[in-house]
């Protein structure tokens, strides 16, 4: 298993390297003038200021040299300085990581709690009223765009009822409820669908019949035998979902003014603040790879037949 982890971590370095090349080329080759853009719509920059800024950000060097120094700094964990805010990208990301992580954990908790439960119920009571209800509500959650869900929740719970804050993080725990629900909506629906599918299949398997024949209660059969064997695809999905969420929830964070990685990315793309874009995406790729590694390791614990080699 140690060898497996080491190999995967080495692969991760390759993935990060590949991603950095692609991104760097995309960001710096596309037309546009980030330094001019950082000025906004005001007067155009004078040559001296422009030269000072280009030197500060190393933009006066040829592209390959810029890339080498970027990778060199990246290897030391330094993501550079924002063009617009003139602050260290590491500092900016640090301010936002906690917020994105909190939102991701809350959303995953909802996915696990609601999604898995709904899936089990739908599978066990197939074609019942509850099953139809789950199918219907998941169809809606998947079909409606995230920002519409967010705006609708804001309209109902913040503007009309006034129970929860509309935006921001000032209200502590109450602030996270609407963004977490919005963020979790689609993936919760997918989890319950997936759970219902795999569970239905497992419930028809021979060993389940055997378990019933042994005289085990329905609860034990479902929660112990069936659940454990049907949860693996769901776990894979949750892993991917969590990895993506940790990379920042662009739409949800924007709608709720949630100061996370996704919000930073949206703003940075708009203002061509390339160091932030590079930093956020590099971080996102890293987290995604790590979370999936964790999921692979978890397989081994859930299903002893899977060996990590």
């Amino acid at each position: 298993m140690g060898k497996f982890v080491v190999r995967r971590l080495l692969q991760m370095v390759l993935v990060l390297f590949g991603a950095s090349v692609i991104l760097f080329v995309c960001l710096f080759v596309v037309p546009g003038d980030p330094i001019a853009t950082s000025q906004g719509e005001g007067r155009q920059l004078d040559p001296a200021t422009r030269a000072a800024l280009e030197r500060r950000y190393g933009l006066d060097k040829p592209l390959p040299q810029q890339y080498v120094s970027y990778v060199g700094r990246l290897a030391q964990g330094d993501l550079g300085e924002s063009y617009v805010y003139r602050r260290s990208v590491n500092t900016i990301l640090k301010e936002k990581l906690g917020n994105t992580a909190r939102l991701a954990v809350a959303a995953i908790a909802l996915q696990v709690a609601i999604g898995i439960l709904a899936g089990i119920i739908a599978a066990v009571f197939r074609y019942s009223f509850l099953d139809v209800l789950v199918t219907l509500s998941t169809t809606i959650a998947i079909g409606v765009p995230t920002f519409v869900i967010g705006l609708a929740l804001q309209n109902v719970f913040a503007l009309n009822l006034g129970w929860l804050p509309l935006q921001g993080q000032a209200a502590g725990g109450r602030s996270i409820i609407l963004p977490a629900l919005t963020l979790a909506a689609v993936d919760t629906a997918l989890v319950s669908r997936l759970m219902r599918g795999t569970m239905s299949e497992v419930l028809r398997a021979d060993y389940i019949r055997t378990a019933y024949a042994k005289g085990l209660s329905k609860r034990v059969v479902i929660l112990k035998h069936a659940l454990r064997n049907s949860v693996i695809p769901v776990l894979t999905f949750l892993g991917i979902s969590f990895g993506t969420l940790l990379g920042g929830a662009l739409i949800t964070e924007t709608v709720f003014n949630w100061n996370g990685i996704g919000l930073a990315l949206v703003g940075a793309i708009q203002s061509q603040d390339n160091p932030i874009v590079l930093g956020v995406v590099t971080y996102g790729v890293g987290v995604f790879v790590l979370v999936n590694l964790a999921v692979d390791i978890a397989y081994a614990f859930l299903d002893p037949r899977i060996r990590l080699e």
Binding site: E41, R43, E253
Partner: protein
Amino acid sequence: MRRFGGKARFAAAAACLALVAAACGGSDDDGGGTAQPGGQTGGGGRQGGTFRVPIGEPSAIDPYNARESEGSNVTVRLFTGLVTYDGNPELRMRPGVAERWASNNDCTEWTFNLRRGSKFTNGEDVDASAFIRGWTRAAVGTSASQVAYHLQDVQGYAELHANPPQTQTFSGLSAPDPYTLVVRLGRSDCEFDKQTVHPVASPVPSVAGAANNTTFNEAPIGNGPFMLRPGTKWEHNQRISLVRNDGYFGTKPNIDAIEFVIFPAQGRLEAEYRAFQAGEVDFARIPPTLTQQAQSTYQPQGSWIKSEQPAINYILTNNARAPFNNPDARKAMSMAIDREAINRGVFQGSFTPATAFITPPFGNFHQPGVCGDWCKHDVNRAKDLATRSGLTPGTRIKLAYNNDGGHEPLVQAWKDQLERNLGLVVELDGVPFAEHLQKRDRGDFDIARAAWSTDYPSPDGFVTPLLGSTSEDNDGKYSNPEVDRLLAQSKSQKSDAERERIIKEIERIAIGRDLALSPTFYRTAYRVFDSSKWTGLGLDFFERPTLETVSQKS
């Protein structure tokens, strides 16, 4: 002075301060205008309270680089410069840290006499060296300030701002005694005092250090009516908390604190407005599409602010080549446009059709109707003039605009009216703002959508850049020796009355006679605020809320 593309408004600008803010303009009645002093609601409110203002994440609140409306909105609360502006129609500056100031005869040397005993909130004196420190820190090339150009007329700027700097001192600044600041300019400028209202000309204490001092960048220590809440700093993307500075030398604000609530740039206007509706902020900008709806809801409640801004939208004509090198062709084009109909149809009536180039907030300098018949819709006369000037039906013209500012409905309306009324063939040429500006610089257009606003309470910011034949901002290449001569005269004219006469004359010639460009709309700003809790709020000349005058309802 600046061009803007309309996607957002990046104001740089200046302080409208507590000392004088009771007359800081702004109004909540329908006829409001920033140039009329004292237009606020009610007044006589209660002391105290925290007023919550939504803003976007500023790029800087340190005066050395506070440059868009967001950053300067915060910076002007923290710093008070030499002089202030209260919205008076004579466009006269009022005392700030400087009690008296005067220039020499040719306006190349300015002497500011500073008040004694005014202090930064860390207890340091605000003296001439604090200004020299602040201006030098902003102008030195290594700071790479994006607003330092406001100081470019001061002697020694070029050497200091070079990259790398040839010197570390600002040779044009000196302090013969601790409370006298002498500024020597590289050229005559009888309105230099007005330029010092920009936040970049703020004084800074010695702890400010160099421009890259992050401690000061995040928690600037100033001498203004407010200061950062002790123990806090700028909480990026979340909030900036200010409290009243009880040691302020001027009139102290009524409110105890300001909470700047920071919103993401994406969809900011919508987010601000919704947060206002949810009661999470006390004031908001309004998404253009909701202006009418917001007005019908909030105006009856007295929560509506309408304010004319020192900004103009106009049709730029390429005066350097046919057909618009002929003034009659420009006039025909301008008269074929129905400004009223476009205002109703495209802007829901939220703009004001222009009848002059220098807009109403410029007080006495505004000459309503100076554009005369040329700004009126008159198809028959337009046809006459068009025939006479060779702008015959079937003539192809290129209409340039920036396609990242939501201007499509406007340029489409222009196109329709020009094609219908004059039989022209109008080709639309929309590109992103930066590219659009390059096209304008190259003269690659016949007519273009354009907008202009200024950073100082001086119409010079309109006439010199847009009408002077040597100005790089004069994209229409209007060139009239008489106008150039008058522009030079106004710059070195010490008498305010005489300068006013000259500038009015310039506008009469360049717009009233030559129609160098075709004014279309005055920019009007709208805001909502919570009038159930607050009173005495308006917008100042710089489109900022008058947080120095607002107070709780008693």
